[in-house]
């Protein structure tokens, strides 16, 4: 038996290590605080939870800012770290959670489900994502993943009186728990092979085991489970249903933050632990990336429900982000990190317009609901156009920079001399380029409804201060990342360098 570490002074130990989990601690304390003061808030004013949630997110940002320059390093016996990769993703999660909280306030009033638990659960889910981004051990990675997933299961089913929401939660829960079981089995085999749960240690131990059946099995099980979480084909069946039935604000949150968190652990595991055995999985991963973007786009072509359409589009975007992982270089991580950041803003913007169309008695989800939006609210229609142009990857918007980088990452590997997979990389790039063209078609179906059709529904849009703030921020960043990308690129590059 190895030496069991002796902790003499628990408080002293915690004080020394807690710097690495500062932002998470803030979120959890504020989330628990919301649950504790809930009974003091009168039933008509449960929306106050949003203010407390914003307080928690603000304090977490302050913590992140304090530790921005100094890296606290691995803490709690190499369980979590707050390196630049984790800080980059923490920033992304905080931004997504902030925008989600202020866009949900009015929406929950309309749905008549205003409860403080909603905001507490968003804080818990965000804390779980931060643990995932900072995890360098299988145990902390798993606990973070489950903290995020379980909070999200509840949030998806939050509209208790609606059958659609119940059904979405059921499907999401069953498939999510199933995929957790598969990931865990892979983890347990990996632990048995390497004798450690630390990702760096696993990476050292499995060198030279390329032909070991158990390693291949555990690798593919973890890959399958993670593909469930990032919604890659063929593990995407739950996505359209869960996205359609969930409260729209939570759909927006899931499509950016939950996906980004799953990608963060995907990168951690496949760079730190499996970085030296790329030969095993590179082909499978490339095929998954190609099939994911194609299938998502083809299925989106025929959708009439905008929530489903955006759900399929988010599947195809997952394929594009995977291209960075297929490249497997520093530039690959940079590209995927930029893609996830740009996607956060442009996709949250598009979803917030969908929330805007949700009015009393009008679901506002079908293509017809967008008819003639330009003639009634030109500013909203133009903003939506910007988001869609960006999602389709048209310059000079954020989506173009994101797509430029993933293609650059893949082509850099394809063109470098002595690379065994150059033809595979070229194929990935070609399929990706074709998919960009396909995606323009279905985004422009909505644009056509907005700008050409004229039968506009007379009911007023559900404007609120929070939603306007979200639209302004997301629109601003969508344009800003497109025309002045340097600061964002250097952030993402620093994140990729701290990972490898």
């Amino acid at each position: 038996m190895p030496e069991i570490p002796q902790i003499d002074n628990l408080w002293e130990f915690f004080r020394e290590n807690s710097a690495a989990i500062g932002p998470q601690l803030q979120l959890i304390i504020w989330g628990l605080g919301i649950l504790c003061v809930d009974f003091l808030i009168p039933a008509q004013k449960k929306g106050r939870g949003a203010i407390y949630a914003l307080g928690g997110l603000f304090m977490a940002s302050i913590h992140l800012y304090w530790f921005w320059g100094i890296s606290p390093g691995p803490a709690f016996y190499n369980m979590v770290t707050l390196d630049f990769f984790a800080r980059y993703f923490n920033l992304l999660f905080l931004a997504a959670a902030f925008l989600t909280v202020i866009m949900s306030y009015r929406y929950l009033d309309i749905e008549d489900e205003q409860h403080t638990e909603y905001y507490a659960l968003i804080l818990f889910a965000t804390a779980g994502m931060m643990f995932m981004a900072g995890a360098i051990d299988l145990v902390s990675l798993f606990v973070g993943l489950e903290l995020m997933s379980i909070s999200t299961y509840v949030l998806v089913g939050f509209l208790r009186s609606q059958k659609r929401s119940n059904e979405a939660a059921m499907k999401y829960f069953l498939l999510g728990a199933f995929s957790t079981g598969i990931i865990l089995y892979g983890m347990s085999l990996l632990y048995g092979l390497s004798g450690s749960t630390n990702l760096n240690e696993i990476g050292r131990q499995i060198v030279g085991l390329e032909n070991n059946t158990l390693l291949v099995l555990s690798l593919f099980m973890m890959m399958a489970g993670l593909c469930f979480k990032i919604a890659a084909v063929p593990f995407h069946m739950w996505v359209p249903d869960a996205y359609e039935g969930a409260p729209t604000s939570i759909t927006a949150f899931m499509s950016v933050a939950v996906k980004a968190a799953a990608f963060a652990i995907f990168f951690r595991i496949f760079y730190l632990a499996f970085g030296d055995v790329r030969e095993i999985y590179i082909f499978a991963l490339a095929v998954i990336a190609m099939v994911t973007m194609t299938w998502g786009n083809v299925a989106a072509l025929t959708q009439d429900n905008v929530k489903r359409l955006l759900a399929y589009s988010s599947i195809s975007h997952a394929g594009f982000v995977l291209m960075g992982l297929v490249a497997g270089t520093d530039l690959g991580v940079t590209a995927s990190a930029i893609y996830l950041l740009a996607y956060t803003f442009m996709n949250l913007g598009a979803w917030s317009v969908v929330i805007l169309l949700r009015r009393q008695d009008i679901p506002g989800e079908t293509l017809e609901d967008f008819n003639g939006l330009y003639f009634k609210h030109p500013a909203i229609a133009v903003l939506m156009l910007i988001f869609f142009l960006s999602l389709a990857g048209i310059p000079p918007l954020a989506g173009f920079i994101a797509k430029y980088f993933v293609f650059a990452a893949v082509l850099e590997v394809a063109l470098s001399s002595g690379e065994a997979h150059s033809s595979l990389m070229v194929w990935v790039a070609v399929v990706g380029a074709l998919n960009v063209v396909v995606s323009v078609y279905y985004y422009f179906r909505i644009v056509v409804s907005m700008f050409i059709r004229k039968d506009y529904l007379p009911a007023p849009l559900s404007f609120s201060a929070g939603l306007v703030v979200v639209l302004v921020i997301t629109g601003l960043f969508t344009v800003l990342i497109g025309i002045y990308p340097e600061p964002f690129i250097s952030l993402a590059r620093a994140a990729s360098l701290s990972l490898t």
């Binding site: 038996m1 190895p2 069991i4 299988l138 145990v139 798993f142 606990v143 489950e146 379980i150 299961y153 509840v154 089913g157 208790r160 009186s161 609606q162 059958k163 659609r164 119940n166 059904e167 979405a168 939660a169 059921m170 499907k171 829960f173 069953l174 728990a177 199933f178 957790t180 079981g181 598969i182 865990l184 089995y185 983890m187 347990s188 085999l189 632990y191 048995g192 004798g195 450690s196 749960t197 359209p240 249903d241 359609e244 039935g245 025929t302 959708q303 489903r308």
Partner: protein
């Protein structure tokens, strides 16, 4: 009772080592996966998922014993805790669905398609 059972197993399998535990966990995991994929009752699917998680625990504890390393057992304790939380949330979702729809059959949970 336990000792006679161990004697019985010893006669059949010889000395029980890690490989036996792995075979057992593989069997339990397979039963769980097949249960999730073929059963139509949500409660039974939940039970099958629990089987999958418990087979992971078997694996972890067997490896922990083999490697003389405690982290596997710690991991197993975390898995048990999280499985309990997950089951609680899952049953809550089943109840909220049952209130609106009065069914636990996944074939009848089909409002959304396409």
């Amino acid at each position: 009772m336990v000792e006679s059972l161990l004697d019985f197993l010893h006669i059949i399998f010889g000395q029980i080592d890690t490989a036996h535990y792995l075979v057992l966990s593989t069997i339990v995991f397979s039963i769980g996966v097949v249960g999730v994929l073929t059963r139509r009752n949500v409660i039974i699917i939940l039970m099958s998922i629990e089987l999958m998680l418990n087979s992971v625990n078997l694996n972890l504890v067997a490896f922990s014993d083999r490697l003389q390393d405690l982290s596997g057992q710690v991991f197993a304790v975390f898995v048990i805790t999280v499985a309990a939380a997950e089951a609680a949330v899952g049953l809550g979702i089943v109840i909220s669905l049952f209130r609106n729809k009065e069914t636990v059959n996944v074939d009848q949970i089909d409002l959304m398609k396409g």
